[in-house]
Subunit: 113 residues, 6 copies
């Protein structure tokens, strides 16, 4: 099992555990999280890159993985991904470097799949 | 060994390593950390939930585990825990979702023990 | 005009500016923010204290003011507020002290009103 | 003097104070900060929106103002700006709301200038 | 009244308001905050620089001012202060720049007093 | 393989993956990260401690490991390291405790090597 399938499997399994508790505001929060990245006056691909850079400066590895997966589906190139990485490091500082390493590792796998 | 015993064992072992170094201000800091959650004009259970929500918005998995354990001992219900999770996600944003997943996994184990 | 009325006036005025833009996900987000603090298996007053401690460790002065106002309406005592301040400082560190100063100033006004 | 000119005047004046100290790594850091937003495989406007969302989730009012100014120059519409605000709030949580209020106030001025 | 005396006056006045509430753990927390910067195997001046860089990456303007004042008393030079600023910006990212501007402004006043 | 060699091996391998992508601003950012810790009006050892405390309050385990390794090379004693840990916990709060545990574990290995 690759890092990618492992991440997706855990994510789906735990989302189920959370959502079956039927906390209505939390379910709405999860649903709203999807709506944010729908096509609007900004296109889906750009929105995924916005989600990626935000996840990176906030240093959330799982969020980074999620948006890398989506960015790949939208046809983002490696060159573009690294321009997002560069801005994230600049804004968020060198503490983003370890997250960039793990993001780079994940991206290599996505590209090869 | 479950996630719970593994967490507690490492925590105790490393606390010993730290405290035996006899850095007095650091020892006082560790001691003060316990005093904060003592019964006062706010009851112990509520204080543990305050510690939990603070740990969650600051996205500290180990702190979340610790307060989940304490909240369980105080008789917090699953419904109440998820209301804390909901507020934490609202205040701290979707970057708290991966921490909520790990918290949910840990809570499932606590409930079954 | 006190700090309290000034805060409330600006907050309401700018919320209007934001909401009239009719960004649907953002409006839902604002609405969800209110739903989180409704009575549930945890009472409203405790939820406001959860919101307060979360705002304090994340060091959001305006969020602190908002929850202090709500906590006052719910009958929170000064002793209880300071127990929340204490936990917030412990969890969030000495960088919370300046926010505690501003929170203390605001609370003095709320108590006198 | 509007919020916009006040911000720009202080920013330029203090940058001078900082740069005249001739700390070479710090000067390179300031210079690198500009290079990050140059046209690349991602266009300048998108890069400014990336800088904006990153600034918003990290809750840096001055950084938000700076990128709002740049986004305006690049022809970003109000509808697009609010889609960025929405994503920032979702990722960063309700603690971003007060920053969104100040950002909305600043944007109103930029649009009218 | 300069920025420096204004800061010190507010700080002392609000510390009094907080400490007179007699929340014992909070009073111990304030006291411990002083003990941390006492001479040890690391000298006082270096400890103040550690406090400064920590405050800067955590972007707490008041904490920065406090440690700048202390660093001045310990004989820190402008060249040394800017080396701390440089490291803080590198580690914490460009979101530290606005805080560096305010820190630079405050340092200019301290140097002239 | 110890925690130390494992950390260094992954760090070097992923840095290569990142740097071979030839994103010029990102390469300059990595290079600047090294320049910051060069001897200046503040000595190298103190700069490493500044990097350590900054990494600790920002809770970046890998950054902590890196600076612990460098601090060891500079002859920092265990007593000094724990004084840095103490300040970091005070400034950053009890959420730094789990990072202090992992840092203490890593330091024990460094000292024994």
């Amino acid at each position: 099992m690759t890092l990618v399938s492992e991440f997706n499997e855990y994510r789906e399994r735990m989302n189920e555990v959370i959502l079956e508790k039927d906390n209505l505001p939390l379910k709405r929060f999860f649903s709203l999280d999807h709506q944010m990245y729908q096509e609007g006056s900004i296109d889906v691909k750009t929105k995924e890159l916005l989600g990626l850079v935000a996840s990176m400066v906030l240093r959330c590895d799982d969020c980074i993985k999620y948006h890398l997966g989506k960015a790949k589906e939208c046809g983002t190139t490696t060159e573009q991904i690294y321009e997002v990485f560069a801005i994230a490091n600049m804004v968020g500082g060198s503490i983003c470097i370890p997250h960039t390493r793990r993001a780079a590792e994940y991206w290599e796998i996505l590209v090869k799949e």
